[in-house]
């Protein structure tokens, strides 16, 4: 690696005109458009109008051949590692690599993931920029360092001063052991009666019971509006059929839980219905599977389960009967087999710095660069007289994903998704971390919508612990969640306009996002990763000066947004491009399991904030936005209108918060012994949350994230302070199927109109 690194700089330092070579290379460092993970968002901010990297001659350019820099933005998964090497090799000499973000250095928060690699073992790296995600300033500092290096001054931009530690006493101690409490043989149950009821609850249970007469089915109400139906593996299909007849028309999650000491897998389908009477009800259909890995699949009854089943096939090394896919879907070819089984263990944390103990486990780089296609596709395509276009993962308009497009002329006959390029194995990692440590982890599901991701996880914990959030904290959370929703829409709309070839729209929105991030920065101290919501409350109180700022923000973004509307939203060219494109009817949308604003754009009135209100949503005035057309245009417009509603919610929250007593932001139940002093968590975060243990059982909580329904389901054994299993189904993952189906039969260029309108975000989908 070092040889390769030196060779590239030597090209500039030697030969005739070397000063000219250095001068031109220095001012023309073009990074290629190769988004590898969440830090890409900050790369966008660095080249957006807030920082405008182009000032330094650093222009983000399409493709490897014409550029000379790779900025590795965060996690390089084993799947992406291949692309990274190929892109690097495609690039003409002399070329440079900067790695930004902790994930690309020693793995960051994903350091013990089974699906990551270290970029410096794949390509020679010139500079490492710490941060998670890095700030745009740090990113530009990396570019500056590279410029200096080309000039001839190759150094770190930071120097530490060594101080002498003053010692007082001498005594050798035993270091403490790990803070994790693990039950040796955890007792796993997902049908523990919750002892709660709700209006119409008993009737519903009776109705279900009567429909399932004659089948083995024990029906338990585990929580409010949560029903578990336990059955036998061979009858699950029949039960599913009958439930789908009642009106349970989609699957929210498919889950497997490995219980090795009982030699069983627990199979769970979380289903629900979009009819008015069934709306907030979740039924967990579960069966224990012993001694076999062929499971009854339900994707022929509910198509929305299809991709999730495929994913579980990879993660658990199982097969779902009836699922047409029997190849690798999410993972790279050389990841460990069935990594989510409990027999596969992740590296344990080290708490003591010792010589000889590596800071991070060694990971072999992928041995071959082949990223296989699904078998038979090539032959089939040839037979049909079509052709194949592989879009991504290194492509200006692919995102962190590969789309295998089958085209007949200009018409898309089929798109085969190839996800998993940002699969950072969050569910597995979560099983080895304390409950509190998973907060920053799950935030990184979607760095453009961090608060909602955070909220989803925290609410599941709160539901298990049955703690209430103080009113002030509830309003702060609502306000933050809505700000995050606005930020996410602004992001998606920006990417949408970029996909439409409209860089001005992108820049205008990035100016607005810069305002939003400034607000986040002042409230939480971080631009994109607030880690602000804690079980039982929020991390800090929001003072009056900040509330003023937020109040100003709600009106300040409007004039600039108006300009965006004038130049982009109302632009006749856009209308021509997106109207009537990628239409999904109500039935299709439900069948493919679309969620959130995109489902509402197809005419389904479903918003978790309305049907199962949490935090302060039911005490605020706002409206649900729907539409009937179900095309790309209204998918975009529905979110645009939702942004206006969100602004309304934020300003209402600000008003309420201003008139409320300050300080009370974390529930007393949670704080326990630590509630005096300041009501701030500062100083006692670990002591309060380190030993959080959830009661035994499973808690499934729905949250309305910016792109739709976010499902967190936490399973606890009741003894450990780490979760036994966490299942996350993100909105983008659910929308993937709909996106693929909407693009079928459209023109090739329409794919980006559809992709953009869905705001599809691969890191969120891949988890």
């Amino acid at each position: 690696m070092n040889d390769e690194k030196n060779r590239n700089i030597d090209i500039l330092r030697t030969g005739p005109f070397s000063w000219l070579k250095r001068w031109s290379a220095r001012w023309s460092l073009w990074p290629c458009h190769f988004v590898t993970s969440c830090c890409g968002v900050e790369l966008a901010h660095a080249s957006g109008c807030g920082y405008d990297m182009e000032r330094l001659g650093t222009l983000t350019m399409g493709i490897s051949r014409q550029t000379n820099t790779i900025i590795v933005e965060g996690t390089i998964t084993r799947k992406m590692a291949r692309a990274l090497r190929i892109v690097w090799e495609q690039m003409p000499d002399p070329k440079f690599v900067n790695v930004i973000g902790a994930c690309g250095q020693r793995g960051g928060i994903f350091w013990n993931s089974y699906h990551i690699t270290h970029p410096h073992t794949i390509v020679p790296v010139d500079f490492f920029v710490p941060g998670c995600p890095v700030t745009p300033e740090a990113l530009i500092r990396g570019v500056r360092a590279l410029q200096k290096k080309i000039e001839g001054e190759d150094r770190d931009t930071i120097r530490f001063k060594k101080a002498n530690l003053q010692f007082k006493e001498r005594k050798k101690n035993m270091p403490p052991t790990s803070p994790k409490l693990l039950a040796p043989t955890p007792l796993i149950r997902n049908d523990i009666p919750g002892g709660v009821g709700w209006e119409d609850g008993d009737e519903l249970v009776e109705m279900v019971r009567s429909r399932l007469k004659g089948l083995t089915a024990s029906i338990t109400v585990t929580d409010e509006r949560r029903i578990t139906i336990r059955t036998r593996e061979d009858e699950i299909k029949e039960i599913a059929k009958r439930l789908s007849e009642i009106g349970f028309d989609h699957v929210k999650s498919v889950n497997l839980v490995d219980v090795p000491h009982e030699k069983k897998l627990i199979l769970e389908y979380v289903i629900s219905g979009y009819s008015k009477s069934l709306m907030p009800i979740l039924i967990t259909l579960t069966a224990d599977i012993r001694g076999k890995y062929d499971l009854p699949g339900l994707s022929d009854i509910w198509q929305s389960a299809d991709y999730t089943e495929r994913e579980l096939q990879d993660l658990f090394g199982v097969r779902f009967e009836g699922n047409s896919w029997n190849e690798i879907f999410m993972l790279a070819p050389d990841t460990p087999q069935s990594p989510l089984r409990k027999s596969f263990r992740l590296e344990e944390e080290e708490y003591i710095l010792k010589d000889g103990v590596p800071l991070t486990p060694h990971i072999d780089p992928p041995s071959d660069l082949n990223a296989p296609l699904p078998s038979g596709v090539l032959e089939e395509v040839e037979e049909m007289g079509e052709y194949l276009v592989l879009v991504g993962p290194h492509h200006t308009g692919s995102g962190h994903m590969r789309w295998i497009m089958r085209l007949d002329g200009d018409i898309i006959t089929e798109i085969i998704p190839d996800p998993g390029y940002v699969h950072r194995s969050m569910e597995k990692i979560a099983e080895s971390r304390l409950y509190i440590q998973n907060i920053p982890l799950f935030e990184r599901l979607c760095i453009v919508d961090p608060v909602n991701m955070n909220l989803g996880y925290v609410r599941a914990i709160e539901r298990a612990l049955k703690v209430d959030v103080p009113e002030r904290a509830a309003y702060i959370r609502t306000m933050m969640a809505e700000l995050s929703r606005i930020g996410c829409f602004i992001y998606d709309a920006g990417i949408f306009s970029l996909f439409m070839g409209h860089s001005t729209g992108f820049m205008y929105l990035w100016a607005i996002r810069e305002m939003l991030l400034e607000t986040f920065l002042r409230i939480t101290g971080s631009r994109c990763s607030p880690s602000f919501i804690l079980p039982g409350g929020v991390r800090r109180d929001v003072g009056d000066d900040l509330l003023d700022l937020i109040g100003n923000l709600t009106t300040a973004i409007l004039p600039r947004f108006k300009k965006f509307e004038d130049i982009f939203v109302r632009n006749p060219v856009l209308l021509a491009r997106v109207k009537g494109v990628g239409v999904l009817s109500r039935d299709e949308a439900v069948r493919y399991g679309i969620v959130g604003p995109f489902l509402r754009a197809s005419g389904v009135e479903y918003d978790i904030r309305k049907i199962e209100p949490y935090d302060a949503y039911d005490s605020l005035g706002w409206e649900m936005i729907t539409a009937d057309d179900g095309d790309s245009l209204v998918r975009f417009l529905v979110r645009l209108e939702e942004m206006r509603e969100s602004l309304g919610i934020v300003s209402q929250c600000v008003d309420v918060l201003k008139g409320m007593r300050k300080g009370d932001v974390i529930s007393e139940e949670i704080l326990g012994d630590y509630q005096e002093g300041s009501r701030d968590i500062r100083g006692s975060l670990y002591r309060v949350y380190g030993n959080l243990v959830l009661p035994r059982g499973e808690w499934t909580v729905l949250t309305e994230a910016a792109r739709g329904t976010l499902l967190f389901s936490i399973m606890s054994d009741g003894e450990s302070n780490v979760p036994y299993r966490v299942r996350v189904i993100t909105p983008s993952w659910m929308n993937l199927r709909g996106l693929i189906e909407a693009a079928r039969g459209e023109r090739m260029a329409d794919f980006w109109a559809i992709y953009g309108s869905f705001g599809y975000f691969p890191p969120e989908a891949d988890r």
Binding site: F17, L20, K21, W23, S24, A25, R26, W27, S28, G48, C49, D52, E54, R55, L56, G57, L59, G62, I63, R65, Q66, N68, Q90, P92, D93, P94, Y387, L388, V389, L390, H395, T396, G397, D410, S497, L498, F499, M500, G501, H502, S503, T504, G505, M507, Y508, A511, I567, F568, N571, V573, L574, A576, R577, R747, M748, A749, D750, F751, W752
Partner: protein, 363 residues
């Protein structure tokens, strides 16, 4: 022998670029042997047109400047700054110099599947249709080759352009380049007829296609005489030069650059500037046909250069208008662009011919 040289020099001296302001200096310089001859040669109108303006040197200068203007202007509209730090005193005007030198010094990759000699030839060859039309476009009174069919020849050359782009894409032998090439071919069919017909409308109006005559005839600029033709020509030019909203063959977000996806180093540098050359030529043609070429308030001391300066200024204006489209519009889809080319724009250009005929008959 000497007689021939004498005759040649006399020929050249008879057709020199007249610059009254510089006359005293020039007269001294003419007296110096060799240097004087060289000067006479360069200032010989046809050669001056080919080498200096509107030919090679102006082209080169504009190619260095135009992407910078584009980046700065677009950045300004987009609330940014644009290239700056490389030369902060002058707003980073030499940014393109750094970029092109970087391309020059970078490795040129010819990938294994490329169709080899052609892969290297086409970027260089495409300069032919880029340079030749300049010989027929007058900058004021300066023109390289006077021809009664000048306007048609320029149009013919301009429509040659896509052939070379097709060549690039074909030689690249890559999926995206292939799709981009096909799109280029389609768009070509979309704009070509409208472009030619709208130019034809002006030729009908002026009754001549001699560029010098055309620019001489426009006491009232063509854009006022026949605005419909100007609009059609402008839209067709935007399509011809792949500017947004018609940037369909390159479509960065869809095809990652289309025909030039596989090119690197100086070869890409060449292709990168070719599209700007096309902008220059079509803007020059537009200036000639609709904006009166080099006509404008004459600055007497500059002599022939006066017309030249007016020509360059007007051309620059048209170029900036074409460039600024990028900041305003998203991209049309291929079929929509074709529909626009065939339907509204073609109709507009036909109407323009009608307008011209009416004007010719009535006035």
């Amino acid at each position: 022998m000497t007689g021939t040289v004498e005759a040649l020099i006399n020929l050249m001296m008879a057709d020199q670029v007249a610059i009254p302001l510089l006359d005293p200096i020039l007269n001294i310089l003419y007296g110096i042997p060799l240097l004087g001859h060289l000067l006479a040669l360069i200032l010989w109108k046809p050669l001056f047109a080919a080498l200096i303006c509107p030919g090679f040197a102006t082209l080169g200068g504009l190619l260095m400047l135009l992407p910078w203007i584009e980046r700065k202007l677009v950045a300004r509209i987009q609330w940014r700054i644009g290239p700056h730090e490389i030369l902060p005193q002058m707003g980073g005007v030499i940014q393109l110099l750094a970029d092109s030198l970087r391309f020059l010094f970078q490795e040129v990759i010819v990938h294994r599947d490329a169709k080899q000699p052609y892969f290297l030839q086409f970027p260089v060859l495409s300069f032919i249709p880029a340079l030749l039309p300049l010989l027929f476009i007058p900058a004021g009174t300066i023109i390289a080759i006077e021809s009664p069919y000048g306007a048609q020849i320029v149009l013919a050359m301009v429509t040659l352009f896509p052939l070379f782009i097709l060549g690039l894409g074909w030689a690249s032998n890559s999926r995206f380049a292939y799709i981009g090439t096909v799109r280029e071919a389609f768009v070509y069919f979309g704009y070509e007829i409208a472009l030619i017909v709208s130019a034809f409308a002006m030729i009908v109006l002026y009754g001549t296609s001699d560029p010098l005559a055309i620019s001489g005839m426009q006491q009232v600029p063509g854009i006022i005489l026949n605005p419909v033709a100007a609009l059609a020509f402008f839209i067709a030019s935007a399509m011809a030069t792949s500017r947004l909203p018609f940037e369909i063959p390159e479509a960065d977000q869809e095809l990652a650059g289309g025909p030039h996806v596989e090119y690197s180093g100086i070869l890409f540098g060449l292709i990168y500037v070719i599209s700007y050359e096309k902008v220059y030529i079509l803007s020059g043609l537009m200036t000639l046909l609709f904006l009166g070429g080099g006509s404008g308030p004459e600055i007497r001391v500059l002599g022939d250069l006066s017309g030249l300066i007016w020509f360059i200024l007007k051309t620059l204006l048209v170029m900036i208008a074409l460039i600024a489209l990028r900041a305003i519009y998203p991209r049309y889809r291929l079929d929509q662009a074709l529909r626009i080319g065939w339907n509204p724009v073609f109709t507009l250009s036909t109407i323009a011919v009608g307008v011209s005929l009416m004007e010719v008959l009535l006035l």
